[in-house]
């Protein structure tokens, strides 16, 4: 275990310039980063074939530290960049890491469309129930009644369940884990990367500094303890009543379906278009481009 951690540290982190990192001590982001690295290491992916894209936020800083091809994009737009990268070079393994605000507020539209489109990209969403970087304002996953710097009287809106949203939007693979269940998270992320199609891993994480503190949830340790207590595996949850599930959430695989993948469909279109060049010419004539005889 120790040894593996050391190999991963040596092999995948950008040591020359980028440490110490910007995250607060105890932040869940580091655990997600560790899980991601263990997953890609276990899958024996080469660093050259992985692109890690992110949006803006504390979570968005992750690619800075990792020695993959990395893109720190604009707030909420990570998946749009990832889409272009993947279509331009389908050989690349494209992973997008986002915050909850990033992925489901400003980037919500991109998120559901990426799921619908089913391009072979892995989306990791670190859900810490708040806008960490900008100082703890409420996000689309801030629970009803919670305090935040913009809901000082208690939050009056209702939260998204990100994983369920992804299922409904049509993602091929959807999993949810927590930063407490670290080795489970390694596996989930690994499965998501291996899955062909758009895959989503929602990670319940702690922002004890901005969210925990304001809601008397304790520090990093207490928050992780609560993830341990409140997480119920998908299988177990099926046997529980709605009342029993109150204040709890499911972890595990919420969806794993097979449907045509856009990236491959595009390849098919390329082949077809090249084969059907004649037909295309006719269509072009119809479209008014070619007004002369071949």
């Amino acid at each position: 275990m120790r040894e593996e951690a050391e190999i991963i540290r040596q092999e995948y982190l950008r040591h020359d310039k980028k440490f110490p990192h910007v995250w607060c001590p105890g932040c869940g982001n580091g655990i997600v980063m560790g899980a991601l690295l263990r997953a890609t290491h276990n899958l024996k992916l080469s660093k050259d074939e992985i692109v890690l894209a992110s949006g803006i936020g504390c979570s968005g800083r992750m690619p800075t530290y990792i020695d993959f091809n990395t893109v720190h994009t604009t707030h909420g737009r990570s998946l749009t960049f990832a889409t272009g990268i993947k279509l331009a070079n389908p050989e690349l393994s494209v992973i997008s890491v986002m915050g909850d605000g990033d992925a489901t507020a400003i980037g919500g539209n991109h998120f559901i469309h990426a799921a619908r489109r089913n391009i072979n990209i892995t989306a990791i969403i670190i859900n810490n129930s708040t806008y960490g970087m900008t100082g703890g304002q409420y996000s689309p996953t801030t629970p009803y009644g919670s305090k935040s710097t913009t809901s000082v009287y208690g939050h009056v809106e209702h939260a998204f369940s990100i994983a369920e949203l992804a299922v409904t939007a049509g993602a091929s693979f959807v999993g949810r884990g927590t930063v407490y269940h670290a080795s489970h998270l390694d596996k989930l992320i690994g499965q998501a990367i291996t899955k062909r199609g758009f895959s989503v891993v929602e990670v319940i994480s702690n922002c004890h500094v901005q969210h925990g503190r304001r809601n008397k949830l304790g520090g990093a340790v207490e928050m992780m303890q609560s993830f341990k207590n409140n997480a119920v595996t998908v299988g177990k949850a099926e046997k529980m009543t709605t009342e029993e599930m109150e204040d709890k959430f499911t972890i595990g695989i919420l969806a794993d379906i097979d449907k045509p993948i856009s990236t491959e469909e595009y390849r098919r279109i390329n082949r077809q278009a090249e084969r059907d060049a004649d037909k295309v010419v006719k269509a072009k004539v119809k479209n008014g481009v070619k007004r002369y005889e071949e």
Binding site: R14, N69, T70, T73, I85, L92, E274
Partner: protein
């Protein structure tokens, strides 16, 4: 199969942009439907696949712009096309392309604004927005098309400049240029010069993705080519990592501007028509330049020494070219389908006694040759 080029073809401006893009090596397009730019998307959805490229319709223009930046980072020449409302949405990621120095081409087929405005009427209302639309000081190249043939050659030029200087290039077309059909003979492949970004030649461990060289334009490695590096919209050092060090920030910001200044001579393109002995001139661009040309010819027929300076590069503003036209002429007429967005640039560079006369139409109608001729006759 004969090439489309070299034979007379009947094309509209939007189609010529597509053919220009393909000839320039564009192999990725992301867009969102909008009048009067949609034909560009439609035709590329047909043509890109057979060229081995990819077309995608995104959920909005913010996403289109993100996708073309992504594709370009992966080494593929990319373009999007839109009109006013969509042009507003691309501005966020356009700034990213400026700061991360990602080559890409953005076509804005201008229509009447503000807001949803006049969807099917021509306009030149987005000229200053093309220059300053995204926040922060940033260099950018803006080219204007006035004819179908222009649409073809300017699109190629746009890709070439974008690749060479690692800067987004905006093509401003308008509803009239986009939809007018003309019979044109396009240059053959051997007459077309295509420029590609320069890939690094050093070993990957030496590669500094944002290091200044004598051109001021860093070599660009495609993602997945073995040159792992970091790309960010934050101001970065020469390795691409965020920095707030004032010296590094200053160095970076100035290099962004300087790389464009260094290329002024090549970037600034214009056409001087009957300018040799002109005493009055029209300074125009886009479809208005067509009317201006006609007006100048008619003025000449009346014995008036008129000339036309047609601007193709709008930004960086061709200060020297305009300045010398102004020094030569008593009067310069600047007709525009806006309230004077280029006229203010002309006035800014005017260091002589030349009178600058503006003529503006913002009713969604074309400026006619007669309107311009009236000025040429009366001044």
């Amino acid at each position: 199969m004969k090439s489309e080029q070299q034979l007379p073809v009947l094309l509209q401006g939007n189609e010529a942009i597509v053919l220009g893009a393909l000839a320039a090596g564009c192999r990725f397009f992301a867009g969102y439907p909008i009048t009067p730019a949609s034909e560009i998307s439609e035709l590329l959805s047909l043509r890109l696949p057979e060229a081995g490229g990819r077309f995608i319709q995104m959920e909005d223009e913010i996403a289109s712009m993100g996708a073309i930046i992504g594709a370009s980072l992966a080494g593929v020449k990319s373009m999007t096309a839109t009109s006013g409302p969509g042009f507003s949405l691309i501005q966020e990621n356009l700034g990213y392309a400026c700061v991360a120095e990602v080559p890409c081409v953005i076509v804005n087929v201008m229509r009447g604004g503000p807001s949803t405005g006049l969807p099917t009427s021509p306009s030149q209302g987005d000229v200053q927005m093309a220059r300053w639309g995204t926040h922060g000081d940033h260099p950018i190249i803006v080219l204007a098309t006035s004819s179908v043939l222009d649409c073809f050659s300017i699109t190629i030029k746009a890709f070439n400049l974008s690749e060479k200087y690692r800067v987004p290039v905006i093509i401003l077309s308008d509803e009239v240029v986009a939809h007018t059909r003309e019979s044109v003979t396009l240059p053959g492949p051997e007459e077309i010069r295509v420029i590609d970004r320069i890939a690094p030649s050093v070993p990957p461990e030496w590669y500094k993705p944002y290091a200044a060289n004598n051109r001021g334009v860093p070599d660009m490695a495609a993602m997945g080519s073995g040159y792992r590096h970091h790309v960010t919209g934050l101001i970065h050092d020469e390795k691409g990592f965020p920095t707030q060090n004032p010296q590094e920030v200053d160095l970076f910001q100035r290099r962004l501007h300087d790389k464009i200044s260094k290329g002024f001579n090549e970037i600034q393109v214009s056409k001087s028509i009957m300018m040799e002995d002109a005493e009055v001139c029209v300074i125009a661009y886009g479809s208005v330049a067509r009317s201006a040309m006609r007006a100048v010819k008619e003025a000449r027929a009346k014995g008036i020494k008129a000339g036309l300076l047609q601007l193709i590069t709008l930004f960086p503003f061709p200060r020297q070219i305009v300045d010398s036209a102004l020094r030569q002429c008593r009067v310069a007429v600047v007709p525009e389908m806006n309230m004077g967005q280029i006229c203010r640039e002309v006035a800014r560079v005017n260091r002589s006694e030349t009178r600058i006369v503006k003529h503006n139409r913002i009713d969604g109608q074309l400026i006619t040759p007669e309107e311009i001729l009236k000025y040429l006759v009366s001044v």
